[in-house]
Amino acid sequence: MTSVKNALEARQNKEYVSALTELLFQLADDDFILAFRGSEWLGLAPHIEEDVAFSSITQNMMGHAFMYYQLLEQLGEGTVDELAHERSGKKRKNAIMLEKVNGLGTYLQSPKFDWAFTVVRHYFYDVNKKIKLDCLQDCSYEPLKHAAINIRKEQYYHLVHWETWFKQLVKAGGEAKTRMMVAVEKVWNEFDDVLSLGPRGEVMANYQLIDREDVIRQTFMNTIGDVFENLELGPLPKLKEMKKSGRIGEHTEDLEKALATLTEVYKKEPSSSW
Protein backbone atom coordinates (compact mmCIF):
# COMPACT_ATOMS: atom_id res chain seq x y z
CA MET A 1 0.00 0.00 0.00
CA THR A 2 1.49 3.34 -1.01
CA SER A 3 1.13 6.18 1.40
CA VAL A 4 -1.78 8.58 1.23
CA LYS A 5 -0.62 12.14 1.56
CA ASN A 6 -3.68 14.10 2.58
CA ALA A 7 -7.44 14.22 3.02
CA LEU A 8 -8.05 14.92 -0.64
CA GLU A 9 -6.22 11.78 -1.70
CA ALA A 10 -7.85 9.71 1.02
CA ARG A 11 -11.31 10.70 -0.14
CA GLN A 12 -10.71 9.15 -3.52
CA ASN A 13 -11.12 5.72 -1.99
CA LYS A 14 -14.41 5.35 -0.15
CA GLU A 15 -13.50 2.18 1.66
CA TYR A 16 -10.16 3.61 2.73
CA VAL A 17 -11.64 6.80 4.07
CA SER A 18 -14.35 5.00 5.97
CA ALA A 19 -11.84 2.70 7.72
CA LEU A 20 -9.63 5.70 8.43
CA THR A 21 -12.43 7.77 9.97
CA GLU A 22 -13.48 4.81 12.03
CA LEU A 23 -9.97 4.46 13.43
CA LEU A 24 -9.65 8.20 14.05
CA PHE A 25 -12.93 8.30 15.96
CA GLN A 26 -11.75 5.47 18.18
CA LEU A 27 -8.43 7.16 18.87
CA ALA A 28 -9.97 10.59 19.43
CA ASP A 29 -12.90 9.48 21.55
CA ASP A 30 -10.72 7.26 23.74
CA ASP A 31 -8.35 10.09 24.59
CA PHE A 32 -11.12 12.63 24.90
CA ILE A 33 -13.30 10.76 27.37
CA LEU A 34 -10.42 9.58 29.53
CA ALA A 35 -9.04 13.14 29.56
CA PHE A 36 -12.48 14.26 30.72
CA ARG A 37 -12.29 11.77 33.57
CA GLY A 38 -8.83 13.10 34.34
CA SER A 39 -10.12 16.67 34.37
CA GLU A 40 -12.63 15.71 37.04
CA TRP A 41 -9.72 14.78 39.32
CA LEU A 42 -8.26 18.26 39.18
CA GLY A 43 -7.78 19.55 42.71
CA LEU A 44 -8.66 16.18 44.24
CA ALA A 45 -5.49 14.14 43.65
CA PRO A 46 -3.68 12.45 46.58
CA HIS A 47 -1.23 15.32 46.91
CA ILE A 48 -0.54 18.65 45.30
CA GLU A 49 2.49 17.49 43.32
CA GLU A 50 0.30 14.81 41.75
CA ASP A 51 -2.42 17.32 41.01
CA VAL A 52 0.05 19.31 38.96
CA ALA A 53 1.51 16.27 37.16
CA PHE A 54 -1.84 14.60 36.49
CA SER A 55 -3.26 17.81 35.13
CA SER A 56 -0.48 18.16 32.63
CA ILE A 57 -1.04 14.57 31.47
CA THR A 58 -4.74 15.29 31.12
CA GLN A 59 -4.03 18.39 29.05
CA ASN A 60 -1.72 16.40 26.80
CA MET A 61 -4.38 13.74 26.32
CA MET A 62 -7.02 16.26 25.47
CA GLY A 63 -4.51 17.79 23.10
CA HIS A 64 -4.10 14.39 21.44
CA ALA A 65 -7.85 14.08 21.04
CA PHE A 66 -7.81 17.56 19.53
CA MET A 67 -5.24 16.46 16.94
CA TYR A 68 -7.26 13.41 15.93
CA TYR A 69 -10.46 15.47 15.70
CA GLN A 70 -8.55 17.91 13.53
CA LEU A 71 -7.70 15.09 11.12
CA LEU A 72 -11.39 14.23 11.05
CA GLU A 73 -12.25 17.83 10.39
CA GLN A 74 -9.93 17.78 7.38
CA LEU A 75 -11.78 14.70 6.15
CA GLY A 76 -15.03 16.68 6.24
CA GLU A 77 -16.54 15.18 9.39
CA GLY A 78 -17.29 18.55 11.04
CA THR A 79 -15.34 20.99 13.16
CA VAL A 80 -13.29 19.87 16.12
CA ASP A 81 -15.75 21.27 18.64
CA GLU A 82 -18.76 19.84 16.86
CA LEU A 83 -17.07 16.46 16.95
CA ALA A 84 -16.18 16.78 20.62
CA HIS A 85 -19.41 18.36 21.84
CA GLU A 86 -22.27 17.59 19.49
CA ARG A 87 -22.14 13.87 18.88
CA SER A 88 -24.58 11.79 20.87
CA GLY A 89 -23.51 8.75 22.85
CA LYS A 90 -24.50 6.41 20.04
CA LYS A 91 -21.95 8.03 17.76
CA ARG A 92 -19.08 7.79 20.23
CA LYS A 93 -16.53 5.07 19.58
CA ASN A 94 -14.58 5.11 22.83
CA ALA A 95 -14.17 1.91 24.81
CA ILE A 96 -16.65 1.51 27.64
CA MET A 97 -13.98 1.13 30.32
CA LEU A 98 -12.75 4.66 29.61
CA GLU A 99 -16.11 6.32 30.21
CA LYS A 100 -16.65 4.76 33.63
CA VAL A 101 -16.93 7.21 36.53
CA ASN A 102 -13.89 7.77 38.73
CA GLY A 103 -15.65 6.46 41.78
CA LEU A 104 -18.46 7.51 44.09
CA GLY A 105 -19.92 11.00 44.07
CA THR A 106 -19.28 13.59 41.39
CA TYR A 107 -16.41 15.99 40.99
CA LEU A 108 -18.63 18.67 42.51
CA GLN A 109 -20.21 16.72 45.29
CA SER A 110 -18.70 14.21 47.71
CA PRO A 111 -16.03 13.10 45.26
CA LYS A 112 -14.94 9.79 46.74
CA PHE A 113 -12.88 8.97 43.72
CA ASP A 114 -10.90 5.76 43.53
CA TRP A 115 -7.20 6.44 43.02
CA ALA A 116 -6.35 2.75 42.63
CA PHE A 117 -8.89 2.41 39.82
CA THR A 118 -7.56 5.54 38.15
CA VAL A 119 -3.96 4.35 38.30
CA VAL A 120 -4.81 0.90 36.91
CA ARG A 121 -7.10 2.20 34.19
CA HIS A 122 -4.64 4.86 33.03
CA TYR A 123 -1.71 2.51 33.20
CA PHE A 124 -3.33 -0.28 31.18
CA TYR A 125 -4.73 2.25 28.76
CA ASP A 126 -1.35 3.84 28.24
CA VAL A 127 0.38 0.50 27.71
CA ASN A 128 -2.07 -0.17 24.90
CA LYS A 129 -1.91 3.38 23.60
CA LYS A 130 1.83 3.09 23.22
CA ILE A 131 1.50 -0.16 21.26
CA LYS A 132 -0.96 1.50 18.91
CA LEU A 133 1.20 4.60 18.53
CA ASP A 134 4.14 2.37 17.67
CA CYS A 135 2.05 0.79 14.89
CA LEU A 136 0.94 4.19 13.67
CA GLN A 137 4.54 5.17 12.96
CA ASP A 138 4.04 3.10 9.79
CA CYS A 139 0.51 4.25 9.05
CA SER A 140 -0.34 4.62 5.38
CA TYR A 141 -2.17 7.88 6.07
CA GLU A 142 0.64 10.41 6.35
CA PRO A 143 -1.15 13.05 8.44
CA LEU A 144 -2.00 10.38 11.05
CA LYS A 145 1.52 9.04 10.95
CA HIS A 146 2.91 12.52 11.69
CA ALA A 147 0.42 13.16 14.47
CA ALA A 148 1.34 9.81 16.01
CA ILE A 149 5.04 10.67 15.96
CA ASN A 150 4.36 13.82 17.97
CA ILE A 151 1.89 12.20 20.32
CA ARG A 152 4.23 9.33 21.08
CA LYS A 153 6.89 11.73 22.36
CA GLU A 154 4.54 13.10 25.03
CA GLN A 155 2.88 9.81 25.76
CA TYR A 156 6.16 8.25 26.81
CA TYR A 157 6.08 10.32 30.01
CA HIS A 158 2.49 9.37 30.74
CA LEU A 159 3.33 5.72 30.56
CA VAL A 160 6.30 6.19 32.90
CA HIS A 161 4.12 8.17 35.30
CA TRP A 162 1.40 5.52 35.60
CA GLU A 163 3.82 2.65 35.61
CA THR A 164 5.60 4.24 38.58
CA TRP A 165 2.34 4.64 40.47
CA PHE A 166 1.20 1.13 39.61
CA LYS A 167 4.38 -0.54 40.81
CA GLN A 168 4.73 1.66 43.87
CA LEU A 169 1.24 1.02 45.15
CA VAL A 170 1.35 -2.70 44.45
CA LYS A 171 4.72 -3.03 46.15
CA ALA A 172 3.55 -0.98 49.14
CA GLY A 173 1.56 -4.02 50.24
CA GLY A 174 -1.17 -3.74 52.88
CA GLU A 175 -4.25 -1.71 52.15
CA ALA A 176 -2.72 -0.19 49.03
CA LYS A 177 -2.08 -3.56 47.45
CA THR A 178 -5.53 -4.82 48.35
CA ARG A 179 -7.12 -1.80 46.75
CA MET A 180 -4.93 -2.15 43.68
CA MET A 181 -5.89 -5.79 43.23
CA VAL A 182 -9.57 -4.93 43.43
CA ALA A 183 -8.99 -2.24 40.83
CA VAL A 184 -7.06 -4.59 38.55
CA GLU A 185 -9.96 -7.01 38.57
CA LYS A 186 -12.46 -4.27 37.87
CA VAL A 187 -10.47 -2.86 34.96
CA TRP A 188 -9.61 -6.28 33.59
CA ASN A 189 -13.22 -7.41 33.53
CA GLU A 190 -14.11 -4.74 31.03
CA PHE A 191 -10.90 -4.14 29.23
CA ASP A 192 -11.68 -6.19 26.16
CA ASP A 193 -13.13 -3.39 24.10
CA VAL A 194 -10.17 -1.10 24.79
CA LEU A 195 -8.15 -3.64 22.81
CA SER A 196 -10.76 -3.92 20.11
CA LEU A 197 -10.54 -2.12 16.77
CA GLY A 198 -14.20 -2.76 16.12
CA PRO A 199 -15.87 -4.51 13.18
CA ARG A 200 -13.70 -2.74 10.62
CA GLY A 201 -10.39 -3.67 12.23
CA GLU A 202 -9.46 -5.94 9.38
CA VAL A 203 -10.07 -3.33 6.72
CA MET A 204 -7.88 -0.94 8.73
CA ALA A 205 -5.11 -3.51 8.79
CA ASN A 206 -5.49 -4.29 5.10
CA TYR A 207 -4.98 -0.65 4.26
CA GLN A 208 -1.97 -0.54 6.57
CA LEU A 209 -3.58 2.05 8.77
CA ILE A 210 -2.66 0.07 11.89
CA ASP A 211 -1.56 -3.48 12.76
CA ARG A 212 -4.02 -6.32 12.99
CA GLU A 213 -6.02 -6.41 16.20
CA ASP A 214 -4.76 -9.86 17.20
CA VAL A 215 -1.16 -8.68 16.88
CA ILE A 216 -1.86 -5.64 19.07
CA ARG A 217 -3.65 -7.80 21.61
CA GLN A 218 -0.78 -10.23 21.78
CA THR A 219 1.76 -7.46 22.34
CA PHE A 220 -0.44 -6.04 25.07
CA MET A 221 -0.88 -9.38 26.82
CA ASN A 222 2.87 -10.02 26.68
CA THR A 223 3.70 -6.62 28.12
CA ILE A 224 1.19 -6.79 30.97
CA GLY A 225 2.04 -10.46 31.52
CA ASP A 226 5.67 -9.47 32.16
CA VAL A 227 4.61 -6.77 34.59
CA PHE A 228 2.45 -9.27 36.49
CA GLU A 229 5.29 -11.74 36.63
CA ASN A 230 7.79 -9.15 37.88
CA LEU A 231 5.45 -8.05 40.62
CA GLU A 232 4.61 -11.66 41.47
CA LEU A 233 0.94 -11.16 40.80
CA GLY A 234 0.52 -14.60 39.33
CA PRO A 235 -0.55 -15.52 35.80
CA LEU A 236 -2.59 -13.11 33.77
CA PRO A 237 -6.29 -13.98 33.88
CA LYS A 238 -8.14 -14.39 30.58
CA LEU A 239 -9.97 -11.30 29.42
CA LYS A 240 -13.73 -11.49 29.79
CA GLU A 241 -16.03 -11.21 26.85
CA MET A 242 -18.22 -8.14 27.04
CA LYS A 243 -21.92 -7.82 26.35
CA LYS A 244 -21.50 -4.41 24.82
CA SER A 245 -18.82 -2.66 22.82
CA GLY A 246 -18.11 1.04 22.67
CA ARG A 247 -16.58 0.51 19.27
CA ILE A 248 -20.07 0.08 17.81
CA GLY A 249 -21.56 2.93 19.81
CA GLU A 250 -22.84 0.90 22.74
CA HIS A 251 -22.34 2.71 26.01
CA THR A 252 -23.41 3.13 29.59
CA GLU A 253 -25.28 5.71 31.62
CA ASP A 254 -21.87 7.00 32.74
CA LEU A 255 -21.15 8.29 29.24
CA GLU A 256 -24.51 10.04 28.97
CA LYS A 257 -23.87 11.88 32.23
CA ALA A 258 -20.33 12.75 31.19
CA LEU A 259 -21.59 14.18 27.90
CA ALA A 260 -24.22 16.23 29.69
CA THR A 261 -21.52 17.76 31.88
CA LEU A 262 -18.92 18.41 29.24
CA THR A 263 -21.37 19.97 26.82
CA GLU A 264 -23.37 21.94 29.39
CA VAL A 265 -22.02 25.37 28.44
CA TYR A 266 -21.44 24.64 24.76
CA LYS A 267 -25.05 23.54 24.30
CA LYS A 268 -26.40 26.80 25.66
CA GLU A 269 -25.47 28.29 22.30
CA PRO A 270 -23.67 25.90 19.99
CA SER A 271 -23.50 28.47 17.22
CA SER A 272 -21.93 31.18 19.38
CA SER A 273 -18.29 31.74 19.81
CA TRP A 274 -17.12 31.13 23.35
Binding site: F36, S39, E40, L42, G43, L44, A45, P46, H47, I48, E49, D51, V52, S55, S56, T58, Q59, M62, G63, A65, F66, Y69, V80, D81, A84, H85, G105, Y107, L108, S110, P111, K112, F113, W115, Q168, L169, A172, G174, E175, A176, R179, T261, L262, E264, V265, Y266, K268, E269, S272, S273, W274
Partner: protein, 317 residues
Protein backbone atom coordinates in the same frame (compact mmCIF):
# COMPACT_ATOMS: atom_id res chain seq x y z
CA UNK B 1 32.84 47.72 70.87
CA UNK B 2 29.93 48.29 68.54
CA UNK B 3 27.37 45.51 68.45
CA UNK B 4 28.11 44.83 64.82
CA UNK B 5 31.73 43.84 65.31
CA UNK B 6 30.91 41.45 68.12
CA UNK B 7 30.85 37.81 67.18
CA UNK B 8 27.34 36.91 66.08
CA UNK B 9 26.91 34.22 68.70
CA UNK B 10 27.77 36.67 71.48
CA UNK B 11 25.14 39.16 70.51
CA UNK B 12 22.18 39.72 72.72
CA UNK B 13 18.70 39.29 71.28
CA UNK B 14 18.38 43.06 71.13
CA UNK B 15 21.58 43.41 69.16
CA UNK B 16 20.48 40.69 66.79
CA UNK B 17 17.22 42.50 66.32
CA UNK B 18 19.02 45.77 65.68
CA UNK B 19 21.27 44.13 63.08
CA UNK B 20 18.25 42.43 61.52
CA UNK B 21 16.42 45.75 61.20
CA UNK B 22 19.51 47.36 59.68
CA UNK B 23 19.55 44.67 57.04
CA UNK B 24 15.85 45.18 56.38
CA UNK B 25 16.32 48.95 56.11
CA UNK B 26 19.25 48.45 53.74
CA UNK B 27 16.98 46.39 51.47
CA UNK B 28 18.89 43.17 52.08
CA UNK B 29 17.12 39.85 51.69
CA UNK B 30 16.56 37.63 54.72
CA UNK B 31 17.05 33.92 54.03
CA UNK B 32 15.45 30.88 55.65
CA UNK B 33 18.38 30.07 57.93
CA UNK B 34 19.06 33.66 59.04
CA UNK B 35 18.15 34.84 62.50
CA UNK B 36 14.81 36.61 62.54
CA UNK B 37 12.55 37.95 65.27
CA UNK B 38 9.58 35.78 66.15
CA UNK B 39 7.17 38.51 65.15
CA UNK B 40 8.65 38.50 61.64
CA UNK B 41 8.65 34.72 61.38
CA UNK B 42 5.08 34.50 62.63
CA UNK B 43 3.90 37.22 60.26
CA UNK B 44 5.56 35.42 57.35
CA UNK B 45 4.16 32.03 58.29
CA UNK B 46 0.70 33.50 58.55
CA UNK B 47 0.97 35.44 55.32
CA UNK B 48 2.61 32.71 53.24
CA UNK B 49 0.55 29.78 54.47
CA UNK B 50 -2.56 31.83 53.87
CA UNK B 51 -1.29 32.70 50.42
CA UNK B 52 -0.45 29.04 49.72
CA UNK B 53 -3.78 27.75 50.88
CA UNK B 54 -5.61 30.50 49.00
CA UNK B 55 -3.93 29.38 45.78
CA UNK B 56 -5.14 25.86 46.46
CA UNK B 57 -8.63 26.80 47.62
CA UNK B 58 -8.69 29.43 44.87
CA UNK B 59 -8.47 26.67 42.32
CA UNK B 60 -11.83 25.33 43.48
CA UNK B 61 -14.33 27.86 42.07
CA UNK B 62 -12.74 27.70 38.63
CA UNK B 63 -12.20 23.99 38.85
CA UNK B 64 -15.99 23.65 38.88
CA UNK B 65 -15.87 24.85 35.25
CA UNK B 66 -12.95 22.80 34.00
CA UNK B 67 -14.90 19.76 32.74
CA UNK B 68 -17.67 22.05 31.50
CA UNK B 69 -15.64 24.61 29.61
CA UNK B 70 -17.38 25.22 26.27
CA UNK B 71 -14.72 24.30 23.73
CA UNK B 72 -11.63 22.11 23.70
CA UNK B 73 -9.46 25.23 23.66
CA UNK B 74 -11.22 26.64 26.68
CA UNK B 75 -11.02 23.28 28.42
CA UNK B 76 -7.27 23.22 27.87
CA UNK B 77 -6.86 26.87 28.86
CA UNK B 78 -8.74 26.67 32.13
CA UNK B 79 -7.13 23.37 33.03
CA UNK B 80 -3.67 24.87 32.54
CA UNK B 81 -4.68 27.86 34.62
CA UNK B 82 -6.00 25.82 37.53
CA UNK B 83 -2.91 23.62 37.33
CA UNK B 84 -0.74 26.74 37.67
CA UNK B 85 -2.64 27.74 40.80
CA UNK B 86 -2.01 24.34 42.34
CA UNK B 87 1.64 24.78 41.37
CA UNK B 88 1.71 28.15 43.15
CA UNK B 89 0.24 26.50 46.21
CA UNK B 90 2.93 23.82 46.09
CA UNK B 91 5.74 26.37 45.72
CA UNK B 92 4.46 28.49 48.60
CA UNK B 93 3.83 25.52 50.88
CA UNK B 94 7.52 24.73 50.59
CA UNK B 95 8.45 28.29 51.58
CA UNK B 96 6.07 28.12 54.54
CA UNK B 97 7.34 24.71 55.59
CA UNK B 98 10.90 26.02 55.84
CA UNK B 99 9.73 28.82 58.10
CA UNK B 100 7.76 26.42 60.29
CA UNK B 101 10.66 24.03 60.82
CA UNK B 102 11.79 25.54 64.15
CA UNK B 103 8.27 24.89 65.45
CA UNK B 104 8.35 21.30 64.22
CA UNK B 105 5.37 21.85 61.93
CA UNK B 106 4.73 20.60 58.41
CA UNK B 107 2.32 20.77 55.51
CA UNK B 108 0.01 18.36 57.32
CA UNK B 109 -0.40 20.99 60.05
CA UNK B 110 -1.29 23.61 57.45
CA UNK B 111 -4.01 21.35 56.06
CA UNK B 112 -5.31 20.58 59.54
CA UNK B 113 -5.38 24.29 60.37
CA UNK B 114 -7.35 24.90 57.21
CA UNK B 115 -9.93 22.29 58.12
CA UNK B 116 -10.21 23.47 61.72
CA UNK B 117 -10.76 27.03 60.55
CA UNK B 118 -7.61 28.31 62.22
CA UNK B 119 -6.02 29.12 58.88
CA UNK B 120 -8.04 31.42 56.66
CA UNK B 121 -8.20 31.41 52.91
CA UNK B 122 -8.79 34.49 50.84
CA UNK B 123 -12.25 36.04 50.97
CA UNK B 124 -12.86 35.86 47.20
CA UNK B 125 -12.68 32.08 47.18
CA UNK B 126 -15.67 31.70 49.48
CA UNK B 127 -17.97 33.01 46.79
CA UNK B 128 -20.20 31.27 44.30
CA UNK B 129 -19.24 30.83 40.67
CA UNK B 130 -22.54 29.71 39.18
CA UNK B 131 -21.87 30.39 35.48
CA UNK B 132 -19.11 30.11 32.91
CA UNK B 133 -18.86 33.90 32.95
CA UNK B 134 -17.80 33.72 36.59
CA UNK B 135 -14.80 31.68 35.50
CA UNK B 136 -13.95 34.50 33.10
CA UNK B 137 -14.41 37.26 35.68
CA UNK B 138 -12.35 35.37 38.24
CA UNK B 139 -9.41 34.86 35.92
CA UNK B 140 -9.55 38.40 34.57
CA UNK B 141 -10.29 40.45 37.67
CA UNK B 142 -9.42 38.30 40.67
CA UNK B 143 -6.12 37.34 39.09
CA UNK B 144 -5.77 40.96 38.01
CA UNK B 145 -6.22 42.02 41.64
CA UNK B 146 -3.78 39.33 42.73
CA UNK B 147 -1.18 40.70 40.33
CA UNK B 148 -1.54 44.09 42.00
CA UNK B 149 -1.13 42.79 45.56
CA UNK B 150 1.63 40.39 44.64
CA UNK B 151 3.59 42.95 42.67
CA UNK B 152 3.48 45.02 45.84
CA UNK B 153 5.41 42.23 47.59
CA UNK B 154 7.81 41.32 44.78
CA UNK B 155 10.63 42.96 46.71
CA UNK B 156 9.61 41.43 50.01
CA UNK B 157 12.44 41.41 52.53
CA UNK B 158 12.13 37.64 52.83
CA UNK B 159 14.17 36.23 49.93
CA UNK B 160 12.42 32.88 49.37
CA UNK B 161 9.01 34.56 49.26
CA UNK B 162 10.20 37.29 46.94
CA UNK B 163 11.66 34.73 44.53
CA UNK B 164 8.50 32.61 44.60
CA UNK B 165 6.43 35.72 43.85
CA UNK B 166 8.52 36.51 40.80
CA UNK B 167 7.67 33.14 39.34
CA UNK B 168 4.04 33.36 40.35
CA UNK B 169 3.49 36.87 38.98
CA UNK B 170 4.91 35.88 35.61
CA UNK B 171 2.23 33.19 35.36
CA UNK B 172 -0.54 35.38 36.75
CA UNK B 173 -0.16 37.61 33.73
CA UNK B 174 -1.16 34.68 31.51
CA UNK B 175 -4.10 33.95 33.77
CA UNK B 176 -5.40 37.47 33.44
CA UNK B 177 -5.03 37.21 29.66
CA UNK B 178 -6.87 33.90 29.64
CA UNK B 179 -9.65 35.53 31.68
CA UNK B 180 -9.77 38.58 29.47
CA UNK B 181 -10.14 36.36 26.43
CA UNK B 182 -13.13 34.55 27.94
CA UNK B 183 -14.67 37.86 28.97
CA UNK B 184 -14.12 39.41 25.54
CA UNK B 185 -15.77 36.47 23.77
CA UNK B 186 -18.82 36.86 26.02
CA UNK B 187 -18.87 40.67 25.73
CA UNK B 188 -18.90 40.37 21.95
CA UNK B 189 -21.32 37.47 21.98
CA UNK B 190 -25.07 37.03 22.03
CA UNK B 191 -27.50 38.80 24.33
CA UNK B 192 -27.54 35.77 26.59
CA UNK B 193 -23.78 35.71 26.80
CA UNK B 194 -23.54 39.43 27.58
CA UNK B 195 -26.15 39.11 30.30
CA UNK B 196 -24.31 36.21 31.82
CA UNK B 197 -21.21 38.36 31.92
CA UNK B 198 -22.94 41.38 33.40
CA UNK B 199 -24.50 39.23 36.12
CA UNK B 200 -21.15 37.77 37.00
CA UNK B 201 -19.63 41.23 37.30
CA UNK B 202 -22.43 42.31 39.61
CA UNK B 203 -21.85 39.23 41.72
CA UNK B 204 -18.10 39.72 41.97
CA UNK B 205 -17.81 43.47 42.40
CA UNK B 206 -18.10 43.68 46.21
CA UNK B 207 -15.71 40.76 46.60
CA UNK B 208 -13.21 42.49 44.34
CA UNK B 209 -13.27 45.60 46.53
CA UNK B 210 -12.91 43.44 49.64
CA UNK B 211 -10.07 41.58 47.99
CA UNK B 212 -7.54 44.16 49.19
CA UNK B 213 -8.69 44.02 52.77
CA UNK B 214 -9.97 46.76 55.06
CA UNK B 215 -8.54 50.28 55.04
CA UNK B 216 -7.36 49.93 58.60
CA UNK B 217 -7.83 47.77 61.63
CA UNK B 218 -10.61 50.17 62.62
CA UNK B 219 -12.82 48.79 59.84
CA UNK B 220 -12.88 45.16 60.84
CA UNK B 221 -11.01 44.91 64.09
CA UNK B 222 -7.83 43.42 62.67
CA UNK B 223 -5.32 44.06 59.97
CA UNK B 224 -1.85 42.78 59.51
CA UNK B 225 -0.81 45.45 57.08
CA UNK B 226 1.12 47.47 59.68
CA UNK B 227 3.51 44.67 60.61
CA UNK B 228 4.11 43.67 57.02
CA UNK B 229 4.93 47.24 56.09
CA UNK B 230 7.26 47.70 59.08
CA UNK B 231 9.28 44.68 57.99
CA UNK B 232 9.27 45.70 54.34
CA UNK B 233 7.34 42.63 53.27
CA UNK B 234 5.07 44.98 51.39
CA UNK B 235 5.13 48.68 50.58
CA UNK B 236 1.64 49.94 49.80
CA UNK B 237 -1.40 49.97 52.06
CA UNK B 238 -4.61 48.06 51.31
CA UNK B 239 -6.33 51.24 50.19
CA UNK B 240 -3.50 52.24 47.86
CA UNK B 241 -3.73 48.84 46.22
CA UNK B 242 -7.49 49.11 45.83
CA UNK B 243 -7.04 52.52 44.21
CA UNK B 244 -4.50 51.01 41.79
CA UNK B 245 -6.98 48.30 40.92
CA UNK B 246 -9.76 50.78 40.21
CA UNK B 247 -7.46 52.92 38.09
CA UNK B 248 -6.41 49.95 36.02
CA UNK B 249 -9.72 48.15 35.62
CA UNK B 250 -12.64 50.58 35.81
CA UNK B 251 -11.94 52.03 32.34
CA UNK B 252 -11.40 48.55 30.87
CA UNK B 253 -14.61 47.19 32.34
CA UNK B 254 -16.58 50.16 31.07
CA UNK B 255 -15.06 49.94 27.60
CA UNK B 256 -16.63 46.50 27.28
CA UNK B 257 -20.03 48.09 27.77
CA UNK B 258 -20.44 46.57 31.22
CA UNK B 259 -22.03 48.40 34.12
CA UNK B 260 -20.27 48.47 37.45
CA UNK B 261 -22.87 48.06 40.20
CA UNK B 262 -22.00 51.27 42.07
CA UNK B 263 -23.68 54.55 41.04
CA UNK B 264 -21.40 56.50 43.32
CA UNK B 265 -18.23 55.29 41.68
CA UNK B 266 -16.20 58.19 40.27
CA UNK B 267 -12.70 59.54 40.09
CA UNK B 268 -12.18 62.60 42.24
CA UNK B 269 -9.75 64.68 40.16
CA UNK B 270 -9.02 67.06 42.98
CA UNK B 271 -7.91 64.46 45.51
CA UNK B 272 -6.69 62.11 42.82
CA UNK B 273 -8.59 59.15 44.13
CA UNK B 274 -11.55 56.94 43.45
CA UNK B 275 -14.73 57.41 45.41
CA UNK B 276 -16.65 54.19 45.75
CA UNK B 277 -19.37 52.58 47.80
CA UNK B 278 -17.81 50.62 50.65
CA UNK B 279 -18.52 46.92 50.47
CA UNK B 280 -20.24 45.38 53.46
CA UNK B 281 -17.36 44.81 55.85
CA UNK B 282 -19.57 42.89 58.23
CA UNK B 283 -20.09 40.44 55.43
CA UNK B 284 -16.31 40.34 55.00
CA UNK B 285 -15.85 39.47 58.67
CA UNK B 286 -18.33 36.64 58.28
CA UNK B 287 -16.70 35.36 55.13
CA UNK B 288 -13.23 35.15 56.60
CA UNK B 289 -14.68 33.21 59.50
CA UNK B 290 -15.68 30.58 56.94
CA UNK B 291 -19.29 31.73 56.94
CA UNK B 292 -19.34 32.79 53.30
CA UNK B 293 -21.77 31.33 50.76
CA UNK B 294 -19.47 28.50 49.66
CA UNK B 295 -16.99 28.31 52.56
CA UNK B 296 -18.21 25.11 54.07
CA UNK B 297 -18.90 23.37 50.78
CA UNK B 298 -15.38 24.03 49.47
CA UNK B 299 -13.74 23.08 52.73
CA UNK B 300 -15.76 19.88 52.77
CA UNK B 301 -14.70 19.11 49.22
CA UNK B 302 -11.04 19.54 50.16
CA UNK B 303 -11.44 17.48 53.28
CA UNK B 304 -13.18 14.64 51.46
CA UNK B 305 -10.40 14.51 48.89
CA UNK B 306 -7.81 14.66 51.65
CA UNK B 307 -9.36 11.90 53.75
CA UNK B 308 -10.30 9.80 50.77
CA UNK B 309 -6.68 9.63 49.59
CA UNK B 310 -5.10 9.12 52.99
CA UNK B 311 -4.29 5.51 52.14
CA UNK B 312 -2.27 6.67 49.14
CA UNK B 313 -0.15 9.07 51.17
CA UNK B 314 0.37 6.37 53.78
CA UNK B 315 1.46 3.89 51.13
CA UNK B 316 4.05 6.38 49.88
CA UNK B 317 5.68 6.84 53.28
Amino acid sequence: MSPLTKLYGERTEEEKYEYFMERIEAGEKIEADDWMPDEYRMALIKLISMHAISEIMGALPEKEWVPKAPTIHRKLGIMAKVQDEMGHGQLLLRVAEDLMKPYGKTRENIMEDLFSGKLKFHNVFHMEAPTWADAGIIAWLVDGAAIITQTNMLNASYGPYSRALHRICAEEVFHAQHGESIVLALAEGSKQQREMLQDALIRWWPSLLMFFGPKSAATTGSSKQDITIKYKIRTKTNEELRQDFLTKYVPRIRSLGLTIPDETLRYDEENKKWIYKEPDWNEFKKIIKNQGPKSMERLTLRRIAYDNNRWVREALQ
